[in-house]
């Protein structure tokens, strides 16, 4: 009997890293994003965390890898989207962002951005001034991510939020989500023409990836073959 080879396709995937300090709710944000993409958008997701032993402070990050196929790399070397809520996180992880990757920062905490392509939103300030609660910074970040990239739909984020967050806080969190989403949309609209062209690709992340992959595969497999057989 001829054995059938298992599916060897390395599937297209998008990796998001949410980073900042402990206590900013990055693990919860990662969980909500994973739930939205996995349960409500029907993709395959893996979400991993990395944090220190402290309850607050210290570096904290959460990673979500989503794909239409199997996800096998649990922790990626490079990321397509980086959300940084602290200067330290922004400096530390910018290097792992792919070329033309999206960088979204909380400008309340991040004063110096490494690239002009970065999208700056004062998330903590918005959380305090408009929601009256610093704790929803993470949800504003998710809303902004959704507003820029269409990676997940706003509807599925809302549904995921409702199942994850405590009942009393759903209203507040939904407000924060829309706040982030609208802020992101406004920023894109008001950007100068040139910068808008840079940012525009964000919305097409899935299509772009698939296109890149078809081109890259040919190149990569020859390159790898040469490398492995060298």
């Amino acid at each position: 009997m001829k054995h059938q080879m298992p599916d060897l396709e390395v599937s297209t995937k998008v990796a998001v890293r949410l980073s900042g300090t402990g206590g900013q709710g990055l693990l919860l944000a990662g969980r909500i994003l994973a739930e939205a993409a996995g349960i409500y958008d029907g993709l395959n997701v893996v979400q991993t965390n990395s944090y220190g032993p402290e309850a607050r402070g210290g570096a904290s990050r959460s990673e979500v890898v989503m794909s239409k196929g199997e996800v096998d790399d649990l922790q990626c070397r490079t990321f397509d989207i980086l959300i940084a809520l602290s200067q330290k996180a922004c400096d530390a992880y910018y290097g792992a962002l792919v070329d033309h990757g999206a960088l979204i920062v909380d400008s309340t905490n991040v004063g110096v951005v490494p690239t002009s392509r970065a999208i700056e939103i004062p998330m903590t300030k918005m959380a305090v001034e408009e929601c009256g609660n610093k704790m929803v910074t993470n949800i504003i970040a998710l809303g902004a991510l959704c507003g820029f990239t269409n990676l997940v739909t706003l509807k599925s984020l809302e549904s995921a939020l409702k199942t994850t967050v405590k009942k009393d806080f759903i209203e507040l969190n939904l407000k924060a989500l829309h706040l982030g989403h609208d802020a992101a949309r406004d920023i894109v609209k008001n950007l100068p023409e040139r910068k808008r062209a840079q940012v525009r690709d964000y919305g097409l992340i899935w299509q772009q990836k698939a296109h890149k992959k078809s081109q890259k595969n040919v190149r990569k497999s020859t390159a790898n073959r040469q490398a492995v057989y060298a």
Partner: protein, 393 residues
Amino acid sequence: MSTVKTGEPVLLSGNEAVAYGALAAGARFYAGYPITPSSEIAEVMARELPLVGGKFIQMEDEMASLGAVIGASLTGLKSFTATSGPGFSLMQEHVGFAAMAEVPCVVIDVMRGGPSTGLPTKTSQADVMQAKYGSHGDYPSVALVPSSVLECFTLTVKAFNISEKYRVPVVLLSDEIVGHMREKVVLPSQDEVEVVDRIKPTVPPEWYQHYQDSITGVSPMANFGEGYRFHVTGLTHDVYGFPTEKPSEISALLEKFKNKEIHNSRDLTMVEEFCMEDAKICIFAYGSVARSARMAVKILRQCGVKAGMLRPMIVWPFPKIPVENMLERANLVIVPEMNVGQLRKEVERLSNAQDKIHGINVLDPTFITAEQIVDKVRDLRAKNRRTGEYIIG
């Protein structure tokens, strides 16, 4: 049974899946002491056990936890505890006791960086040998290693089944990455889960031998308080459980322990072979690292290299036959591990050409990526091209 949805996609962490797996397997008693990265298991059990009529106790420490688990198991409840490396060290005394008294129980060890308190929130695979040789004396040890969230569920059920079937303590070696990562899974419903219960005595109480001699090493087990009289002790005992110093009885008991592994080795071998049919470069990986290994195999296959992966789901007893088969046809064996090479040495023991076995040993808590494995294969190939030792392709 539990409140989690079955038959439709849910987003679960490995630790949550372990807890739901335990409930599906019929666990009704949990005693434990919280420790990162295993605490979520206790959290779920504290919430779910009372709903199904079970008992949850937070004990004063890990030694007492496993003690309580053994006691509960003797009364007939399927019992388990969850901990991490430092707690598992403290439990070793009772692991030996459970093996000696042949009490079924399950210990979930979510591995973190060691030795000692080490790195509470970082991953490691350094408890593999502790699961085998942690307690003193020759005792049968069984350890399972999940590499995905769904496997956290299925292998926990399997761990309970093995433990009940063979009357042995079973260890589930999860690690921080598997325990804390969330994946989309579809859990099987209760009807789809195979649940094994311990064999009950069929003889009248006065004929009952708690440690009856048998070729498979498994004797029927009555619950405490059912009218069957037996004695439980850590001392070497006779068939009724009372201490003995007779050489014939001692050797019979220890032979029985050995037989549990030998006569049931077929049932206690569980491996996944990925692209192994024509593989010349084999990766032997387990736990979270196996995910990277699978990715590496895909990349290597795309480059035309005949790579494959052998992944043990039960690491103890060591899967001797699959590994020997692998060694026979492989030109190169890579063993990536997040320790100094604990299982690589086991693979080397079965090989007569140890120079073809190479480890990737990462001791800092950074995860081993697929690229690292591919790079290693490339380096070794480059080296071998010069010496002309291996034919790879």
